[in-house]
């Protein structure tokens, strides 16, 4: 089959990168005990403000920083809402997603007088890594480094031990004289940074423009990857690769005749979402989340 070639690999890496970045953020947040369903909104904000930064300065790296900051702010907001104002984690996530969607569309209309999309902008520069891996930008190159770093942080460092404890038994952390709220603030803000970067990858690394709602549910697929990956950085990255692979496969197969019948493109588009549901359906019962995840403390 001429479908399985290096282009498919490159495509998989391309489509998985935003998923992995956001999923890493999800791992950090949930390990500290905070449910984060706003990865989607943070990604979208990162995409928009990344585009805006690049548009205003012509420099994609500035755009990256701006987009990352936007994600960071939303992450911080989620932390404030859940830790200080004691808002239910899911409600806060829903609100942030809605805020991000409405806010980016609002700004898009305000600034560009066009709700569909922004004008084209300077994207992130790429380096040629070799015949198989092709062109990769700074974000996709940072992914394996981030996976290793976050893994070391969570499982081999004192900070990681405390962060995981905050997600398992916040009382134990408090009794040890450490503020679990500060730990959660850190984790959730970082999840915003990472999701923001995921969004930056979408607008500055793939399309070189911003379109309304361009995150397209990827934030939720990233969350599913966190669960599928049992809340570990390497597990989540692996799961994200898995989802990315099927996304790439779907794009390849669109319009191609399979078994003599052409599968409608919409059915292919459904694939990542259906796959997520199947994975979740088969999985829970074996995946144990952090004990204090989503708790009211």
């Amino acid at each position: 089959m001429d479908v399985f070639d290096p282009e498919l690999l490159r495509s998989t890496l391309r489509l998985s990168t935003p998923l992995i970045l956001a999923a890493l953020g999800g791992v950090l947040s949930e390990r500290s005990g905070v449910i984060n369903i706003a990865l989607e909104g943070m990604m979208l904000a990162g995409a928009f403000f990344g585009m805006l930064g690049s548009y205003l300065t012509g420099n994609a790296l500035i755009g990256l920083l701006v987009g990352m900051t936007a994600g960071m702010i939303l992450g911080f907001l989620h932390a404030v809402l859940t830790q200080n104002l004691k808002v239910n984690h899911i409600v806060s996530g829903v609100a942030l997603n809605i805020l991000s969607f409405g806010g980016t569309t609002y700004l898009l209309r305000m600034i560009f007088q066009h709700a569909g999309g922004s004008p084209p902008i300077t994207g992130l520069s790429t380096w040629h890594i070799g015949k198989v891996l092709g062109d990769q930008n700074i974000l996709s190159l940072s992914v394996p480094i981030l996976v290793v770093l976050i893994g070391l942080l969570l499982f081999r460092s004192p900070l990681g031990l405390r962060l995981r404890a905050a997600g398992e038994n916040p009382s134990a952390v408090a009794a040890a004289g450490i503020s679990f709220r500060v730990l959660r603030y850190l984790a959730v803000t970082c999840s915003g940074i990472l999701s923001g970067l995921a969004g930056v990858y979408l607008s500055l690394g793939q399309l070189n423009m911003f379109t309304e709602g361009m995150s397209g549910g990827r934030g939720f697929i990233a969350l599913a990857a966190v669960i599928f990956g049992k809340w570990t950085p390497w597990g989540a990255a692996g799961a994200a690769l898995f989802f990315g692979f099927f996304d790439a496969l779907q794009m390849r197969l669109q319009g191609q005749a399979i078994l003599g019948h052409a599968i409608p493109s919409e059915f292919m588009l459904i694939l990542p979402y259906a796959l997520t549901i199947i994975v979740l359906a088969g999985l829970v019962g074996r995946a144990i989340p952090p004990e204090a995840l989503g708790s009211d403390e």
Binding site: L152, R156, S157, P158, L161, R162, R164, A165, E168, N169, S171, A172, V173, A174, A175, A176, G177, I178, P290, E291
Partner: protein, 511 residues
Amino acid sequence: MLPLTMRRENCTPIVEMLQITKRFPGVVANDSVSFCARRGELHALVGENGAGKSTLMNILYGLHRPDSGEIRIAGEPVEITNPGVAISLGIGMVHQHFMLVRAFTGVENIILGDEPSRLGLTNYRRARNEIQEICQQFQLVVDLDSPVGNLSVSAQQKVEILKALYRGVRILILDEPTSVLAPQEVESLFAMLRKLTSQGTCVILISHKLPEVMAYSDRITVLRLGRSIATIETSKASVEEITNLMVGSSSEMPAQPSQPVVTRQRHVLLSVRELCVRGKNRGVGPLSFDLHEGEILGIAGVDGNGQRELVEALVGLRKASGSCLLASCELLCLDTRHRLDTGIAYIPEDRFDAMIPNRPILDNAILGLQRAKPFSKHGILDCKSAHNHAHVIINELGIRSTGPSMIAGHLSGGNQQKLVLGRALSVNPKLLIACQPTRGLDTHGVQDIHRRILAARERGTGVLLVSYDLDELLALCDRILVMFKGKIAGIVSRGEATRETIGALMLGAKV
């Protein structure tokens, strides 16, 4: 004769809490309490449930800030704003409900917050070595590498104590440490505490178990209703004296069953055969036993030996195999609702699994009964009969409330427990399964509940009483079934049951 300086050192308190007052909404937990403890002594802090002992010690450990008062450690005034400060002052606390991360190993739990590190990464090897040294010093044997959630309760307690020792405590507070231990384990705990005090550590023991306090402590401070009443040398005190100080008046005789059940003549109510349940760490069963009408059968055992699984299997909250016949009706093929309908009333261990605190007494009065005849017809609720029922329960049980529309969460703990018990008894159950029905109640509350359970027994109800309080079981039960590692270690009838025999069975010894 000791040199003067040394004598003074031994007498200088290392902990002084002066005129501590702490208020919570609606209650004054500590009312100008003064307390001091010396180096190298085992000082017991006794009082009823609700006397303010835990609050006072939580203040010492920095979990609460006092509204007024002063604390001095080794003569220096200090402000203990959070546990971090307490730890740095050499104060350690082992709470009643352990502050452990179940998924972490013993080592990880012990070093949490004080991790030795190298180049930013945790140095587990150095941690382990240091902990092993401490274990050798105090002859503590405990598995440090398994997830703490898999350990027995007494092993978990050792990890908790190690947490304090690892940080070099000079003041160790233990909150009701023996409520989860078998009698023999209690002895080894106190042996270890003796070793600590002989090295100069001050040990403060919160307890309501007077026999232990009399046997092991050097001095006793009594709290009652938020005030400190007296501090006495243990050697000069008597149990009656302490009890009077604790309760404030001569307490009634604890309730006693009127006469022992003659099991041969009573009908078998519940017949359990080869019951096997899947537990958290191990399988439970096969269990076989009978419960008779008008009998109180106690389930004794250290927490975590299968009692919970047994009860959940009986009620239908856990899958089980085997046979459970209630008056010739096989329970295991019914779901929870239908089992309860056959005449079972169930009081779960956690009060909040039996009631909804945010809802009025009215809603709680029919919880579990909503499908039964007077309370609903053809799927529609009958509010009037629900109202009446709530009134009946309130009056019968003497629940202090403003009426059925009072929010259940605003009742005191004892009254909440009465509500749950009242609802359970209101259906005149054939079988009452009660788990820790008197947890957290003061003496009067405990006696009230005991009286009502005995009254149910008189009426012919069979009672399965699960409790971790041996005294309660010894006082009420006609027979006591002891569980150990998921199996029945033995069934002891009233005449033969003593703390020693039950205690031995609880630890798996053959009697």
